[in-house]
C-alpha cells in the first residue's frame, strides 16, 4: 500500500474490513483525506468504494478497523455521530421533493422555527445567501424544485448538506451522472469553492476525466482494498489510474472496426416529437453501428423512445427494409425485429425477480411452448445455450436476475433479443454501470451482432429457432460517453437542442470535435486518451 501523507489527515479510515454472506467487500482497506483537499475515489463496480462510503456514513458497521475524524477515534459510529462529526454526503440520486421550494428543500429536516411556526421568509433569505456566497450561484428561494435544471438541483442538494456551516468533510457520490458537460463545470467551481473554505472533499466517480480534472489525490480501490494512492502527475493521468483499477494493462477496449453494409435498413425522415426533437433524419444500414451523441435534454433519450414506440412522433416517416412502419408500442417494434436495450436496466430492462431463463425467453415465449402451454425443458435448454455463449455468470439459468452483476444483467438483456432473431438493435447507454472487463465483452458482442457474427451460432448448433445470427444486424448506440461512441461506431449523429447538427463518419471526428459538437461549441477540455486504435 502506498502511503502518501503529505498533510495531516483530517479523516483517517484504517484497515477497515467488512464481509457480507459470500463476499469480502472490504479487506483491510484504508482511506485518508486532508482538509482543503479534493480526494478522488475510484474503482470498478464491486471494488468496495461504495461499501467504504457506507461504512463512513454509518450505514454499515465495519467488522474490523478504525475511523478517526479530527484526531478523535469514532468508536460508536452511527449516522447521527457521523453527522455530528461534520461529515456530509451528497448522494447520487437527486433526493429532493419536486413540489418543495428551494428554501424548503435546503432546510428540509432542519427548519428554522419560531413561536408562530416555521419561518419561511427567513429560511428563504438564508438559503439564497448561502447559495450565492458559498456556491457562487444565484437562485430564487421560492422556485419549485421541479422547475429547476439538474445542475441547480444538485446545488440545492449541496446547500442542504452544508447550510448549518458545520461541514468538515463532504462526500460526493457520483454527482455528475445526470449532468451535461457545461453543467459539470458549474458544479466543479462550487466544489473548488468548498475546498477554499478548508473542507475535505471525497469525490467518487466513474468518469476518470473528472477525477483527473478535479482531484488533488486519488485512492484506487480493487477487490476490497486500496491498491494505490496517487498524487501529482499520477493523479492526472487516467491511463495510470486504469492500470491500478484493473490490475493489468488494457490496450484495446474496442473490437476492430469491420465493413459496413450497403443495404439501408432503417430510414427515418423528418421525425419530430416536440418539444424534445424535430426534423430528425436517421439512416442505419445493415452491419452498421450508428452512434447518437448529445447532452441530457438534447432529445437523445426521446428519439430512442420514439423509435421503439415508447413515445409517439408527431410527424415524420419511418421505413424498415423499405417498408413503411408505424411503431406506436414496443410490441410492434419487437414484432418487426426492432429491439431495445434500455438505459435503466434494473427498472425497464429486466424483470428482476424472474430467473435468467425466464428473462431470456420472455420475448419469444411462443417458441418454447406448445398450444400456448409453456414447455420448461426446451426453454431451459435454449436459455442455457445462450447464457453459455454470452458467458453469463452464474451459469445456472434458474438464478434470479436481481442478484447478478450489472454486466451479467446486461448480457441477459442481450440474450433475450438474440433469442428473438432481431435485426435492429437500439442500445441506450449499453455499458452504464458495467465494469471494464464486461464492457470489453459487450463491445465485442455488439460488433459481432452487427456483422452476423461468429459468436452467435457456434454454441447453438441444431437449434434453428435462433434466427438472426447469420443475418447482419443494424445497431444504434446512444451514449453519453464520447470515447465509447468513437471507439465503437461507424457513424455518429449529434443532437443539440432537439436537432441533428452533425451526421459524420467516425473517421472525421476526434474527441475534441465531438465534444465541441455536443456542447454546441462549448468545448470542455479533457486529457483523457482514447483507448481505441
Amino acid at each position: 500500500m502506498v502511503d502518501a501523507l503529505h498533510a495531516p489527515s483530517y479523516l483517517q479510515m484504517s484497515a477497515i474490513s467488512k464481509a457480507f454472506p459470500g463476499v469480502q467487500a472490504l479487506d483491510k482497506a484504508s482511506l485518508s483525506v486532508s482538509s482543503s483537499e479534493i480526494h478522488g475515489l475510484v474503482g470498478e463496480n464491486g471494488a468496495g468504494k461504495s461499501t467504504i462510503i457506507k461504512v463512513l456514513a454509518g450505514v454499515y458497521s465495519p467488522d474490523a478497523g478504525s475511523i478517526v475524524i479530527d484526531n478523535v477515534e469514532q468508536d460508536r459510529h452511527s449516522p447521527g455521530s457521523v453527522h455530528d462529526a461534520g461529515v456530509r454526503f451528497i448522494h447520487q440520486e437527486l433526493n429532493l421533493v419536486p413540489h418543495f421550494t428551494v428554501a424548503e428543500s435546503v432546510f428540509m429536516g432542519q427548519e428554522i422555527s419560531g413561536p408562530l411556526g416555521v419561518r419561511k421568509r427567513l429560511m428563504r433569505k438564508r438559503a439564497e445567501e448561502f447559495l450565492e456566497l458559498s456556491l457562487h450561484y444565484r437562485l430564487n428561494g421560492n422556485k419549485l424544485i421541479r422547475d429547476l435544471g439538474v445542475a441547480e438541483r444538485k446545488l440545492v442538494q449541496i446547500a442542504r448538506a452544508l447550510i448549518d456551516n458545520e461541514a468538515k468533510v463532504v462526500v460526493f457520490d457520483e454527482p455528475t451522472g445526470p449532468l451535461a458537460s457545461n453543467e459539470v463545470e458549474q458544479l466543479f467551481s462550487a466544489i473548488r469553492a468548498l475546498r477554499e473554505r478548508g473542507i475535505a472533499i471525497i469525490y467518487v466517480s466513474h468518469y476518470l476525466g473528472e477525477i483527473t480534472d478535479l482531484c488533488d489525490r486519488v485512492t484506487v480501490f480493487r477487490n476490497g482494498q486500496d491498491v494505490a494512492v496517487l498524487a501529482g502527475a499520477d493523479a492526472a493521468n487516467s491511463q495510470t489510474i486504469i492500470q491500478h483499477m484493473v490490475g493489468r494493462d488494457i490496450t484495446t477496449l474496442y473490437p476492430e472496426r469491420r465493413k459496413v453494409g450497403k443495404k439501408p435498413m432503417l430510414e427515418c425522415s423528418n421525425l419530430s416529437c416536440r418539444p424534445h426533437f424535430s426534423g430528425v433524419n436517421l439512416q442505419v444500414n445493415s452491419s452498421e453501428i450508428v452512434g447518437i451523441a448529445g447532452l441530457v435534454g438534447s432529445g437523445r433519450e426521446e428519439l430512442i423512445d420514439v423509435l421503439y414506440g415508447l413515445k409517439t412522433a408527431q410527424s415524420g416517416t419511418v421505413t424498415l427494409d423499405g417498408q413503411p412502419l408505424h411503431v406506436d408500442s414496443p410490441h410492434i417494434a419487437v414484432k418487426n425485429g426492432i429491439v431495445l436495450v434500455p438505459r435503466d436496466r434494473r427498472n425497464t430492462g429486466l424483470v428482476l425477480d424472474m430467473s435468467v431463463a425466464d428473462n431470456i425467453n420472455l420475448a419469444s415465449l411462443d417458441e418454447v411452448s406448445s398450444y400456448s402451454i409453456e414447455r420448461k425443458k426446451p426453454g431451459k435448454i435454449r436459455a442455457t445455450a445462450l447464457a453459455k455463449k454470452l458467458d453469463i455468470r452464474p451459469d445456472n439459468v434458474s438464478a434470479i436476475v436481481r442478484f447478478l452483476s450489472g454486466g451479467n444483467q446486461q448480457k441477459v438483456v442481450l440474450a433475450r433479443w438474440l433469442a428473438t432473431g432481431s435485426k435492429l438493435f437500439i442500445m441506450d447507454e449499453p455499458t452504464i454501470g458495467v465494469d471494464i472487463g464486461a464492457k470489453v465483452e459487450i463491445y465485442q458482442l455488439i460488433s459481432d451482432l452487427a456483422h452476423g457474427g461468429e459468436s452467435a451460432d457456434s454454441a447453438l448448433e441444431g437449434s434453428s429457432e435462433l434466427a438472426g445470427d447469420d443475418n447482419p444486424a443494424g445497431v444504434i448506440i446512444s451514449s453519453s460517453d464520447p470515447t465509447e461512441l468513437l471507439g465503437l461506431c461507424d457513424r455518429i449523429i449529434v443532437l443539440l437542442r432537439g436537432e441533428v447538427i452533425a451526421d459524420k463518419p467516425v473517421e472525421e471526428l476526434t474527441l475534441d470535435s465531438l465534444l465541441a459538437l455536443t456542447t454546441g461549441g462549448n468545448v470542455r477540455t479533457t486529457d483523457e486518451p482514447l483507448h481505441s486504435q
Binding site: E93, M108, G109, Q110, E111, S113, V118, R160, A180, P275
Partner: protein, 326 residues
C-alpha cells in the same frame, strides 16, 4: 435547457389539471341557475352544516396522503377513517342513550376506540409492511364488524343537549358545529403547513428517501399520520351524530365516497397539484353543495352516488392525463 422550447406550445398538461375544477364550477353554476335558492345565505348555511363531518374526515385523509404520497396504491391512503368515525359515533350514541354516560367520558371512550383503529393501521403499515390500501381496507371491515356488535345493527337516537346544541346553537350567526370545525381546520393547518412537524410530514410524502437522509424519522411520521387521521375520524363522530340525530348503521360507505372524492378533488385546486388541507376542505364543502344542489332540483337521491362515483373517476382520470404516463 428545453424550457424555452416547451413554453412555445400551449401548456395542455397544466390545463387538464384545472379541468375538474372548471367542471365543478360549471356544475355548481348550473345548479345555482336551476335552483336559485341554492345561493341564499340560508342554504349556504345548510351546506356548511351538512359538510362538517366530511370536512373533518377529509382533514384526516389529507394528513395521511400528505405523509404517504398521493399514489393510491403505494402511497398513503386511509380507507378506515369513516369506519372509525362511525364506530366512535356508535359508542357515543350507545353510551349517551343506553347507559346514561355523561358526554365527556363517552367522547373519551369513542376517541380511544377510534385511535385504536389508527394505531392498528400504523402498526400494519409501518411495522408489518402492508400497503396502506390493504391494511386500512382490512381494519375498516373489522371496524364495521365491531360497530355492529356495539349497536346490534340498529339505529340509536341521540337527544343529548351537547349533540343537539352542536347542530342548533348559533354563535355570530354560524352554527356551533361549523365554528368548531373551523377551529379544527385552523389547528390542522397550523400543524401541517406551518410547523416543523408538518414540513417534515410533507417531506416524507414528497420523497421518502430524501426525508430519510435528511434525518427525518420517516417511520414515526408515517405512524403518526395514521393516528392523527383516526383522531380526526373520532372527532368527526360527534358531528355525524349531530347531523343525523343519532347513529345509523352503514353510514360509513357514503362518507368514504365523499371523503375520497373531496380529498382528491382538492388536489386539483392546489397550485402545486398535490393533496393539501385547504384543497380537501374546499373539496368537502363543494361536494356537499353538489349533493344538496342535486337534491334541490329533484334528482333521485340514488343517482347522486352514481354522479359522485363518475366524478371521482373524472377527477382521477384528468389527473392521470395531466401528469402524463411514463
Amino acid at each position: 435547457m428545453n424550457n424555452n422550447t416547451q413554453s412555445m406550445a400551449f401548456d395542455w398538461r397544466g390545463f387538464t389539471g384545472y379541468l375538474p375544477f372548471l367542471v365543478f364550477i360549471l356544475m355548481l353554476g348550473y345548479l345555482g341557475y336551476s335552483a336559485p335558492n341554492l345561493l341564499t345565505a340560508e342554504s349556504i348555511d345548510l351546506i356548511l352544516r351538512q359538510s362538517v363531518p366530511t370536512v373533518v374526515v377529509c382533514l384526516g385523509l389529507a394528513v395521511v396522503v400528505i405523509a404517504g404520497g398521493d399514489d393510491v396504491v403505494s402511497g398513503g391512503i386511509d380507507l378506515s377513517i369513516p369506519a372509525a368515525a362511525v364506530l366512535a359515533a356508535a359508542i357515543i350514541a350507545d353510551q349517551l342513550t343506553n347507559h346514561g354516560t355523561a358526554f365527556v367520558p363517552a367522547l373519551s371512550m369513542a376517541m380511544c376506540a377510534a385511535m385504536l383503529v389508527g394505531v392498528v393501521n400504523a402498526f400494519l403499515v409501518v411495522r408489518v409492511g402492508m400497503t396502506p390500501l390493504l391494511a386500512t381496507l382490512a381494519t375498516s371491515v373489522a371496524t364495521v364488524g365491531i360497530t355492529k356488535v356495539v349497536t346490534a345493527s340498529r339505529r340509536i337516537n341521540v337527544d343529548h343537549p351537547t349533540i343537539v346544541g352542536l347542530r342548533d346553537n348559533e354563535l355570530y350567526g354560524l352554527s356551533v358545529g361549523v365554528l368548531l370545525t373551523m377551529v379544527l381546520v385552523v389547528i390542522f393547518y397550523a400543524a401541517v403547513h406551518r410547523s416543523k412537524w408538518g414540513m417534515n410530514l410533507q417531506a416524507v410524502g414528497g420523497n421518502r428517501d430524501a426525508a430519510d437522509i435528511s434525518g427525518i424519522p420517516v417511520r414515526r411520521m408515517l405512524a403518526q399520520s395514521f393516528v392523527v387521521a383516526s383522531m380526526a375520524g373520532g372527532l368527526a363522530s360527534v358531528f355525524i351524530l349531530a347531523r343525523g340525530s343519532g347513529s345509523s348503521p352503514g353510514s360509513e360507505e357514503n362518507l368514504l365516497l365523499e371523503m375520497i372524492l373531496a380529498t382528491f378533488l382538492g388536489a386539483a385546486f392546489s397550485p402545486r397539484r398535490v393533496v393539501t388541507l385547504w384543497g380537501a376542505v374546499l373539496g368537502a364543502v363543494l361536494v356537499t353543495a353538489l349533493s344538496i344542489g342535486f337534491k334541490s332540483i329533484g334528482v333521485n337521491v340514488f343517482w347522486t352516488g352514481c354522479i359522485k362515483g363518475a366524478l371521482i373517476l373524472f377527477v382521477v382520470a384528468t389527473a392521470a392525463l395531466a401528469t402524463g404516463k411514463k
